[in-house]
Symmetry: C2
Subunit: 320 residues, 2 copies
């Protein structure tokens, strides 16, 4: 039995749109920060049982096509026919709103490949995780991570920009809405690709953001990182507003918080908002400003839940 | 003294972005419906007084650059040096949230040109009104109106598509927020033109929407008119979300109402949302569905104000 742990990540330059759905190749490169507050632990054991088995939080669940894809990849690389027993737990602060498939498939890639006796490089693990979920390719690494869009299966992988983060960047995850998303991220990006007249311009602007964001990270410039992340996120969300029919992941509370974030900036604090395919914002700021920012938010919107995150580590094997 | 009245209009294909700020030439053609519930009455008299005078709702106000521009145009056409006394009243149901410069400059163009002894064609009046406010070029006419973007001053004018509207289209104006807009429409469109990577695609999609919308109007297809209007409006608003820095005219309540509008559609009612450069939505529907729609909205959001509008008439002279 092999056990692995992987942390979730927040994209500062978003992954948004698949160029090749079967191969899970993205249209644009993306760049993320791995976070320290939420992780998935997954164990895998290959046995002579009749079928693959997936137990999530102690409950047997159907084996999804994506899970099967990763297990099949591993079996093919290992020349094995054995079926897998996969057990997975999410470790998440109550109501953090941080759950994602990124940590799940990164942990799966590490655990399953080790359980099959493979010794894959981190690049190979990143590609394997990508087959389950695009953003999982980034959760192989800690700190700031770049996922190269690539042009084919072997050239589309993530690599670390800086796994050790030596400056006080913080991410405040705000939970505004625990309702199930009405449009899942996969369906949303596909709708944007096929029906937004702005999609091709999105791809260009995101690629340009990669070098701007890399420079801001090298400069340890938290304000510039935040500014670029907010602009990039809103350009991603503009592709849903411009789809046919138009839709949005924003909840009313998302707009309230964005308005407060702009007010906070007028007080001289660096605070920027980013948002994935859901209504819960993540605020990018300096560690030293966190309590002031949360105080201001609390005074205006009393019933929100906040989770303070810092840069987190890469995926790792917990068994030897 | 010449007195004129002009009604406001709601754009179904939005005017968004000036190709030439001095000449008030737009990047794209736009298409509107003149509404019957809000109008401006303006009187103009040319006298031997020392300065132009502007009295709005009985109060003396500074003469804005735009007002001066229209008065100067009229003086030039009439070969006159006389100064103008301009008095203006807005007639608006309490809290309709419908005020705009469109009705104001359309009424001014009609009153001022007549007061100066000019006999301008409606096309000439449309161009004159455009010099004060782009959307005013459309309020010269009733019903459905097309403003040709044109390529120079004389080719950028509005003309009616159908002044008499023979089908039961209704517009419910919803007031969510009476606060002053933080970003005026002129500044917002300029920010989108200069900093959204999606702006050129907006111009293309808006021009394509003109022929689609004209066809839907010819077909008297209210659902298709609404669907195209909602998609066009959201593509306009996507240019603010993609600007640098990003911004939005949406208020939290705007999103709440849009979500309700989508729910209303699942009940089989045709109801679509459009929105100018501010938070107050206008809902496009059949007259027969108005009470059901307002009932559903009221049940969910009790404190909103609604104004039911139908197609309105063009600008006209009230004195002979």
């Amino acid at each position: 039995m092999s056990l692995a742990r992987a942390y979730t990540n927040i994209a500062l330059v978003k992954y948004w749109g698949k160029r090749d759905v079967a191969q899970m190749l993205p249209y644009n490169s993306s760049l993320s920060l791995t976070l320290d507050k939420f992780y998935t632990e997954t164990s895998v054991e290959f046995t002579d049982q009749a079928e693959d088995q997936f137990i999530f939080e102690g409950q047997q669940q159907p084996v999804s096509a994506k899970l099967m894809r990763v297990l099949d990849d591993v079996r093919q690389l290992a020349g094995s026919q054995q079926k897998a027993q996969v057990k997975s737990h999410n470790h998440v602060p109550t109501s953090a709103g941080l759950a994602s498939s990124a940590s799940a498939f990164a942990a799966l890639a590490v655990a399953a490949s080790h359980a099959a006796g493979l010794e894959l490089s981190r690049r190979e693990l990143s590609i394997l995780a990508r087959h389950g979920s695009g953003s999982a390719s980034r959760s192989l690494y800690g700190g700031f991570v770049l996922w190269h869009a690539g042009t084919d299966d072997q050239s589309s992988f993530a690599e670390p920009l800086s796994e050790q983060v030596d400056f006080p960047i913080a991410v405040i995850a705000v939970l505004v809405n625990q309702q199930q998303k009405s449009i899942l991220s996969g369906a949303g990006m596909q709708a944007a690709v096929t029906s937004s007249p702005y999609y091709s311009a999105w791809v260009k602007t995101a690629e340009a953001d990669i070098s701007r964001m890399s420079a801001a990270i090298a400069d340890q410039d938290i304000a510039q990182i935040g500014k670029l992340a907010e602009t990039n996120a809103m350009r991603m969300h503009a592709t849903t507003l411009s789809a046919n029919p138009p839709f949005t992941y924003f909840a009313p509370e998302t707009l309230q918080i964005w308005e407060l974030v702009r007010q906070i900036r007028t007080k001289g604090l660096n605070c920027y908002l980013t948002l994935d395919a859901g209504p819960n914002p993540k605020l990018i700021c300096h560690m030293q400003d966190v309590s002031k920012i949360v105080e201001i938010l609390n005074a205006e919107i009393p019933n929100l839940t906040y989770t303070l995150c810092q840069p987190g580590p890469g995926a790792k094997l917990m068994t030897q």
